[in-house]
């Protein structure tokens, strides 16, 4: 009987990358690992990395499952904006926070269902199907907010973005709960295996009696739900809904996080925790660039460098020659 090898897990390159980025941050800024407790909430750069990384981490959780089925969801950034807008407009209109949160999540689920129907039943390629909502979604969010930034003072919504539980900021708590919950659900039920099977070989999945239609619907719907959750956090953080900028380009960060986490864009094997690690690597780089005084846009250059590195490492030619060298060394 095999158990998870914790040692092997921790030896994955993603953890080295994360450690390296954190180390560089510490060298640049010796107080990086300092953590203080103020007003019942933890503060410090490391906490900041976790806190700021939470929205992308949450998107990445949903995106992981989508990519595992050989799909992609380009609309999650726009869905974040819609969900934030719905919640903000509802609470400013006098609805209770519970109603606002529920409505925002429901709208996210609806967006996910829309994508799912396009992909599953109309059989439109995922990248094209989700492009529709990516283009129109921000317009819909602006329609909800009527073009202005809707600010609110509802304590519950603000708590979602800035509050803390036992000293831990809410975004971190929510992301952790979602990550652990989603991981348990996919691994304790058969969902994870069936998703991987559909992603690896959809035809063989059909022959093996797997109904992939419902599975795809669930996966896209879950991605919509995650996007809405992320949208609530971002809205709560700035105490308002900014339909133009909330979640802007975060779909690309989420895809990047998933890819860094080792899930292939060609579908198949996936790991939700590793995608979260990928999101943290991205955020740790962001934070490092900020504290070292570069402009935040410099981030984009670094990110493109990371993508290029991954692409080169994963390229069939390079992978083959690496494998050859590796086996040669083992034989030697």
């Amino acid at each position: 009987m095999k158990r998870v090898h914790w040692k092997a897990l921790l030896l994955r390159p993603q953890f080295f990358a994360l450690a390296a980025v954190l180390l560089i941050n510490w060298l640049l800024f010796p107080g990086f690992f300092d953590i203080t407790l103020q007003d019942g909430r933890l503060f410090g750069s490391v906490i900041d990395v976790l806190n700021r990384g939470a929205p992308v981490a949450i998107l990445a959780i949903g995106m992981t499952a989508v990519i595992a089925t050989k799909g992609v969801d380009l609309s999650v950034g726009a869905v974040m904006a819609i969900a934030g807008a719905v919640a903000a407009v509802l609470v400013t209109g006098g609805a209770s926070a519970v109603v606002a949160v529920a409505a925002a999540l429901a709208v996210g689920v609806l967006c996910g269902l829309w994508n799912g129907v396009l992909v599953t039943y109309l059989e439109i390629q995922p990248i094209i199907a989700t492009l529709v909502l990516m283009v129109a979604g921000r317009g819909l969010a602006q329609l909800v907010t009527e073009g202005s930034i809707v600010t609110f003072s509802d304590p519950v919504l603000i708590f979602i973005g800035t509050g803390a539980v036992l000293g831990m900021p809410m975004p971190i708590v929510i992301a952790s709960v979602l990550a652990i919950g989603a991981t348990l659900i996919v691994r304790k039920t058969a969902l994870g295996l069936l998703i991987e099977a559909v992603g690896v070989n959809r035809s063989a999945a059909r022959f093996a009696g797997i109904s992939s239609g419902l599975l795809l619907m669930v996966v896209y719907t879950f991605a919509g739900f995650c996007a809405a959750t992320s949208g609530l956090i971002v809205a709560g953080d700035i105490r308002g809904a900014d339909a133009n900028n909330a979640g802007l380009w975060l779909e690309l960060d989420a895809i990047l996080a998933v890819v860094i986490g080792g899930t292939s864009l060609l579908g198949g094997r996936f790991s939700i925790p590793m995608s979260v690690v990928g999101a943290l690597i991205i955020q740790a780089m962001n934070t490092g660039i900020l504290i070292s005084g570069f402009s935040p846009e410099f981030n984009l250059v670094v990110k493109s460098g990371v993508i290029i590195l991954i692409l080169v490492l994963q390229a069939p030619m390079v992978a083959q020659s690496l494998r050859k060298r590796f086996t040669a060394e083992r034989k030697a």
Partner: protein
């Protein structure tokens, strides 16, 4: 045919090895100018590998290709084309989204100041096609024409650019009778022009109609090259299916009719254009073999039974109760299993582990929420892997790293794990090593003894004969014979398949 002319292209002692599998083992082949040479063999016999070597898509691991008397090595199909060997594939490798004229001249369009001279191309295209008896609007999208027209456009392009040898890879597979006749007119014209034509097909009657010589491959080996005037259809079928010509004695199989209760019954199941309605009942503890050539409707029959394609009409009952099977999930729920012919495409999950490949159908049947835990999975995978002798260093390794035979056993294990009522095996022993082959045949016999109902499609005749209680013969997309008892003999099967195939049967 120019008798005794020097071959225009010749392959000598060709060997091609993929991994540990010898796809071609010392094959000789030649085409003379003005000759139509048919190449026959079942899937996996090595036809396409030989063609790919002749046309530069593969490099041989042994032997040589000789063109006009000199040894050549083509770097790719374009290189072969420049040397005079053109190929037309079954799935026309042209561009359906572009005009006929452009498909004929792509890459060679005449230009003036960088601007393509469209009128010149169109005029030349019309002229060229007229030479093939085809008058069509050459400005129209190629995809808007029938496959037959597309094939002829492809032939015209290939001949225009090569001019010595034309390889036709199953050009008639999706054509109707009239279209085949037109295609043969074209082939006859080219033959008269002195081209050497290699014709690959699985329609025996067409071979007898058009070809001068035939070469038969089986399991990567050359079985023989014959002038068609010297052989009968029965000879050819025998060469394609039998291990040797001497095994022709009846009654080598189990040959007992099974009287047990009916396990599954298919009544007038059929699908337009795929397979004519058929009825078949399988008893407990019975193996029904399916014999027939490629394209006879044997795989289509299995796909209908398993709900991969939906039937136009008919009824399926299991243990006397009518069930609805519109998709494979319903088939699995009814206790059916299906090892498909194309393992890589429809069978294995390459990246997933051996364990996961074995338990996946059972898990799909159990549903999302009744997940097998790791201990159960290990136990199921381990016991079936052991029973079938799956040779893997570790059941956690990706199944794609296993040999073909072990992959096949893993798929078989997958279906045994659901404890099936009825199992369909489509070419279960093709392209696998001798050891795995024997193991699978042993398993078929064991499962029969345990009371399972099995349908086994195989082009290995002596093998089918050995384990079948009954044999159904497929021909021209219909079930044409049902053999039992003493009739289960290769000679009877060959006769049933070869009937009405060409004038000299």
């Amino acid at each position: 045919m120019v008798v005794g002319a020097e071959p225009v292209v010749q392959a000598r002692g060709i060997v091609k090895i993929f991994g540990q599998h010898r796809a071609l083992d010392g094959v000789d082949f030649s085409v003379r100018p003005g000759e139509v040479h048919a190449l026959l063999g079942e899937n996996g016999a090595g036809k396409s590998t030989l063609i790919k070597i002749l046309t530069g898509a593969y490099q041989p691991d042994g032997g040589e290709v000789i063109l006009d008397g000199a040894a050549v090595r083509f770097s790719d199909p374009l290189d072969a084309q420049r040397h005079g060997i053109g190929t037309v594939y079954q799935e026309v490798n042209l561009l359906p989204n572009r005009s006929v004229a452009e498909n004929l001249f792509l890459g060679h369009q005449p230009t003036r100041f960088g601007i393509v001279q469209r009128r010149v191309i169109e005029a030349r295209a019309r002229e060229l096609l007229a030479g093939y008896g085809l008058e069509i609007d050459v400005r129209a999208e190629l995809g808007s024409y029938s496959v037959a027209v597309q094939q002829i456009v492809a032939i015209a392009r290939a001949v225009e650019l090569s001019g010595k040898v034309l390889v036709l890879d199953e050009p008639t597979a999706s054509l109707d009778r009239n279209e085949v006749a037109k295609m043969f007119e074209v082939v006859a014209r080219l033959k008269a022009r002195g081209l050497g034509i290699i014709f690959i097909t699985h329609f025996l009657d067409q071979v007898f109609e058009i070809a001068d010589r035939v070469t038969i491959l089986r399991n990567g080996k050359l079985i023989g090259t014959k002038a068609l005037s010297e052989v009968t259809a029965t000879d050819v079928v025998r060469m394609m299916l039998g291990k040797d010509l001497a095994f022709d004695h009846g009654g080598v199989g189990v040959a007992e009719a099974v009287q047990g209760p009916v396990r599954v019954e298919f009544k007038s199941l059929g699908r337009q254009g795929k397979v004519a309605p058929f009825s078949l009942a399988l008893h407990e503890g019975e193996v029904v073999g399916v014999a027939g050539l490629l394209g006879s409707g044997r795989t289509e029959m299995a796909r209908l039974m398993f709900g991969v394609d939906s039937a136009d009409g008919g009824e399926i009952s299991v243990g006397g109760k009518v069930v609805s099977i519109r998709n494979p999930a319903q088939a699995v729920a009814a206790g059916f299993g299906f090892c498909p012919e194309d393992r890589k495409l429809d069978g294995i999950f390459g990246e997933l582990s051996v364990r996961e490949n074995i338990i996946i159908a059972l898990q799909a049947k159990l549903g999302w929420f009744r997940a097998l835990n790791r201990d159960e999975q290990n136990e199921i995978a381990g016991s079936y892997a052991e029973a079938l002798d799956i040779r893997a260093a570790d059941y956690e390794m990706p199944v794609k790293l296993l040999s073909g035979g072990n992959q096949q056993k893993a798929i078989l294990a997958r279906w045994l794990a659901i404890d099936p009522n009825f199992l369909i095996l489509d070419e279960p022993t093709r392209g696998i090593d001798v050891g795995a082959h024997a193991e699978i045949v042993r398993t078929i016999n064991r499962l029969r003894e345990e009371g399972l109902a099995l349908l086994v499609i195989s082009s290995e005749l002596d093998e089918v004969v050995a384990y079948s209680n009954r044999i159904v013969v497929m021909r021209d997309r219909a079930m044409v014979a049902e053999l039992s008892g003493a009739d289960i003999a290769p000679s009877v099967i060959v006769a049933a398949i070869a009937e009405n195939q060409g004038g000299r049967a």
